[in-house]
Structures are given as C-alpha cells and as structure tokens.
Amino acid sequence: MKCKKVSRNLPSLWENSLETTLAEEVRRHLGQCENCQEEWKQLGTLMADIEAVEEVQPDPRLRKNFFSMLEEAKSGQREAAARHEERTLVEPVFWKQARWIGSMAAGLALLLGGFWMGRLQFFSHMEPTTVDKGANQELEALQGQIESMKQMMAVYMMDQRSASKRIQAVSYTDEISELSPDLLKALLERLNQDDNVNVRLASLNALTRFAHQENVRAVLVDSLPRQTNPVMQIMLINLMVEMDEKRARGSIQELLESAATPLEVKNEALQGLGQLL
C-alpha cells in the first residue's frame, strides 16, 4: 500500500471506522514505514491536544443580556395577548377582522390600496380624454405588475412575523388628510430605516397619497437610492415613472448599472428610464 493511501486512511483508523481488512493493511504498513508511523503519532498528539483544550468562560454579561432579552420577549408576548383581548371586547367585527389578517394580507392590501390611491391622485390631474385612452392599457400593465409583485412579495414575506405595531401606526395615516412635518419625518424614517420591509412598504404607500406635495416628492426621489430591497426598488421606480419624476433618472440609472441589482429590478429600471425621457 502506498503512503498516500495510508495517510488518507489514518483519520478513519483513529476513529475506528475502517473496515477490518483495510485497517490491518494500514497497520502493517505503519509497522514498516517510519514516515507514516511519524504521521500516525502526530495525529494522536493532535487529537489528544484537541481533547485537552479547556473551555473558556464567557463574561457574566452574556447571561445578563440573555435574561433581559428573554424578559423583553415575554413582555412583548404579554402585550400582544392583552391587545388581542382588548380588541375582542371592544372593536366592531369588521375592524377586528381587518386587523387580524396577518402581515402578508395587510402588506398586500396596503400595497394595492396605495397603488390605487396613487393612480387616482395621478389621474385627477389629467385631462379626461387622456385618461380614457391610456387607462385601459395602463390598467392591464398595472394588473400585470401587481400580479408579479404579489408573487415577489409572497416569496419575500414568507419568513416575516405577523403585522407589527409599526405597520398599524403607519396605516393610521390613511385616515388623515394633511401631513404635518413631524408625521412626514416619522414616515420618512420608517420608509428609509425600518428593518422590516412591510413597514417600509406601508410607509411608502402612506407617503404616495401625498405625492402631489413638492416636499413629499423630493423625499421620495431621495429615497430610491437608499432602498436595498427589490420590492421597494420596484415600487419606487414605478412611482417615479407615474409621477414623471425626471430627477430620479440618475438613481434609476445607477440601479440599472449596479451588479448587485436583481434582474427583476433591472427590467423595471430599464422600462422606467424609457418612460422618463
């Protein structure tokens, strides 16, 4: 037997997992070959040294941090339970249902809602004849977009937890008609910095309602390069096209050129640039 083959089989021999005849062959070779004998000894030393490594104790703050995290999670759980009870007692049936459809449904509803509101807002500034002509075509395109977005969102949201308080908070702005500077700032922070894409989407939809205001338009233009999530990127590109917002050309172009941009987003970016001439 060649040294190379012996060498390859030494770990198995050490683990006693070599079949008998092969093990015997390896042992016989070890008796004759000094180099392999040396390697076998080294292996033994290495294994023994690994065995001898003692555990290092972590700093006590690790335990402390763990238990404060656990407490936090538990109080979150209690709050959720309390909220559930409160709603069951007080709220009218349709609201109760509306709020318990889960993150996916809520996200989709908000997405669709925002889209339609954005459309309505947009059409209201147009001549009626233009609407008639373009509406059918755009409606089809829009339905297609929503359909593909639904799929993307479904995939994307699969591992998200249920609708959070933040989404609820954002969705409350549906009922207001004027955007105060503070509220704008809060929504913007959600839009650009929230860890959760549902929350970012909800914020985008909320802001879209006010996209006729110049200050809102400006922050939406500004938001596109900050978004890393493909759903958000597509939503914003579409919105920019809808608003005919030429200032966004630069960041759409960048998305198109970046190697990190997913294919779906690049497609949207390409189409968007074509329409934003």
Binding site: K2, C3, K4, S7, R8, L10, P11, S12, N35, E39, Q42, L43, L46, M47, D49, I50, A52, V53, E55, V56, Q57, P58, D59, R61, L62, R63, N65, F66, F67, M69, L70, A73, K74, Q77, D159, R161
Partner: protein, 178 residues
C-alpha cells in the same frame, strides 16, 4: 424547545444554561475575539426566539441551533472579511506570568493549536470545530451543513490532515511520500 415554540418562553432559559458556554467557545475558536463571540452567542438565542415557530418537532435541537450559529458566523465573516480580528492573546500572556513552567508549556501548545486552526480555510476550521471540539457525529454535521455523510467524512478527514501538517509544520516536506 417544543415548549418554547408553543409560547413558554421561560423554557429557553435551561437551554441557554446548557449550551451558551459551548456556543461561546465555538464562536471564540472561529473568531478569536471574545466580544464578537459573546455578541454572536446572544444573537443565536435571539434568533431562536424569533424563529421559534420554524422549529420542527422531533428535529434535534442542537443541530438546529448550530445551523443558526453557522449562518450567523457566515454573515459576520462576510461583513468583516479583510478586517478579521487579530488573534487575541492578551489573556494568555497575562496568565502565563503566574504559571509554572509546565503550565506554560501546556498553554504554549494550546496557543499553537489555535494558531494552526486559524491558518485553516474557514470551512475546514468549522468542520474541525464541529466534529472534534463540539463532538458532533458526521450524521449531525451533514444535517447542519446540508451535505451527504460521506462527503462530510471526507472533508473532515482532509481538514484533520491539513491541521496536522500545519500543527507540526511538515507541509514543506512533501518529498517524503513514496
């Protein structure tokens, strides 16, 4: 773990007591940095809480936990590539002053072993940690890494061979093979 999944979050505490030192050591050997390892250990338990719904009944908890641990380390590694933490040996040198010669030798060997481990590619290092330090069976590692048992065995053995070479600095003497 099943009771954590079902909402009894307190049941996570005994699991923490049982595994956090091992996990901390696992990360410590991977990153050579105490603080990072504490953070990563904490993150594992945070993830366990957050993703408790995805735990499958009957699935070995330890493998499930180490799979998260691996993913967290992989994320950390990707983010810090190029600026990997220097080997933290302040602890060793402080201790050595107080120790007798025999103890020093022991520590020296331990340090050499850790340095040899650090010279391995991260995948091989991880395999050695899982199989030799954490005592996982090949079947368990294959579940954690999503590879066949045979493939894992071959890779672990290759990693052991490489580690032995580095540890004894024999890699330059390849000519001895027939």
């Amino acid at each position: 773990m099943l009771s954590v999944k079902n909402g009894t979050l307190d049941s996570l505490a005994p699991l923490f007591e049982r595994y956090h030192v091992r996990l901390f050591n696992f990360f410590l050997r991977l990153t050579s940095n105490r603080e990072t390892s504490e953070d990563l250990t904490q993150n594992v338990f945070q993830r366990i809480l957050r993703f408790r719904h995805t735990y499958k009944d009957g699935h070995p908890f330890r493998s499930w936990m180490y799979r998260m641990a691996r993913n967290l380390h992989a994320d950390h590694y990707r983010k810090n590539k190029g600026s990997m933490d220097a080997f933290e040996d302040a602890d060793y040198s402080r201790q050595t002053e107080r120790l007798a010669v025999v103890e020093m030798e022991k520590l020296e060997r331990k340090r050499n072993l850790m340095e040899a481990l650090n010279l391995l590619p991260v995948e091989q290092k991880e395999l050695i940690l899982l199989s030799r330090f954490e005592g996982f069976k090949y079947e368990e590692i294959s579940r954690i890494k999503g590879l066949s048992v045979a493939a894992i065995k071959v890779r672990v053995h290759r990693a052991i061979g490489r580690l032995r070479e580095i540890y004894f600095e024999t890699s330059g003497e390849g000519g001895k093979k027939q």
